[in-house]
Symmetry: C2
Subunit: 207 residues, 2 copies
């Protein structure tokens, strides 16, 4: 296993060819992560499966943590792209619940991969809070809810909702919760937290 200095900043793909290689690596990481989990996955196998040299893999992703955090970010970006089509007249809570239910279903479908991404993102956040996916994820929630001009109170509620949902996913992964139950609980927590939004912002206006 080659030793690679982790303090060198990861390279960013720029050319079309580099971007394709980068995407191939992420797809290979998803396959291996889903089959083996973070501990047992080997950078070597991912490079081989993606058809890139191990040095190329390490240039983009100096560690498994970098790799699986990048994969999580790319999945949140895809979620953002899918979220664009809103249902007309849908309430913010319903739009957000629909997005979270879809995302949760996707995570539960490949539990080892979900664990790998969440654990990596946690480790990244512990090093550099802004390098995690939270900010992007809150943007996805705003889009899903059609909330164009969030107040500070909205952002606080969505931050709490993101953390609450995270706790529910971890619990579902650990316990092997029935997906149906997770979906119902997701809808309930969204209605409780986002449903409080109108009341909260009205109180704020009056003060």
């Amino acid at each position: 296993m080659p030793r690679v200095a982790e303090d060198r900043p990861p390279a960013e793909p720029t050319s079309r060819e580099q971007k394709e290689r980068y995407a191939r690596i992420l797809r290979a990481a998803a396959r291996h992560g889903a089959a083996k989990g973070l501990e047992r996955v080997q950078m070597h196998d991912i490079a081989k499966d993606a058809g890139v040299a191990i040095a190329t893999l390490y240039r983009y992703f100096p560690s498994k943590t970098h790799l699986f955090t990048a994969l999580m970010r790319s999945q949140v970006d895809q979620l953002a792209a899918m979220t664009v089509e809103r249902v007309p007249d849908e309430s913010p809570a319903d739009g957000i619940a629909r997005m979270l239910v879809r995302a949760g279903r996707e995570l539960l479908r490949r539990p080892l991969l979900a664990h790998a991404m969440m654990q990596s993102n946690n480790a990244t956040v512990a090093q550099t809070p802004s390098a995690g996916v939270t900010e992007v994820f809150i943007d996805v929630m705003l889009d899903a809810g059609g909330i164009a001009d969030p107040t500070p109170h909205d952002l606080r509620l969505l931050g709490i909702l993101e953390q609450a949902w995270y706790g529910m996913i971890i619990s579902a992964l650990n316990r092997g919760t029935d997906p149906q139950e997770l979906e119902e609980d997701t809808a309930l927590v969204v209605s409780l937290v986002v449903g409080a939004r109108d009341a909260g912002s009205r109180t704020g206006d009056a003060a």
Copy 2:
């Protein structure tokens, strides 16, 4: 490092002397876990610090996971004992928020230990869901809120609250969130989730 079969059920302390030894082990585990975190903690050092033979330690706790899950359970039990004195006329939400704020403050005070316990409890739950602290913790919430006859809806809300709070604690540990902010967010999420309880149970009665 002695090899110990992990499939032998852990011993339970019965005599007074055994209970004292068991408690000494848990206190040593808390000290070492707080200083070093789960990865770097050594069973050997804990045995030495607790003044017990390594074989004794392994008889009660076949692995670090067993040890730190037991420590978490013992801390939840202590929390239960402290929770007994309720403030007169306190609402369920206020009582529960007070308990969670206290527990969260305690966890944030020793972040490496908090991580060690939560990670171990997760691993335990993934093996045997009922062996985790969730059920006990929900009882502590019921006590703290003075809820003597919980409905199924109450239990569902408290289950969601437990998971939401867990997500908030993980986020606070990873991000190094200001404890004050965690306390305010805890109070807010309790009021949103438990505040919905009366409305929910009244609807239930009417149906």
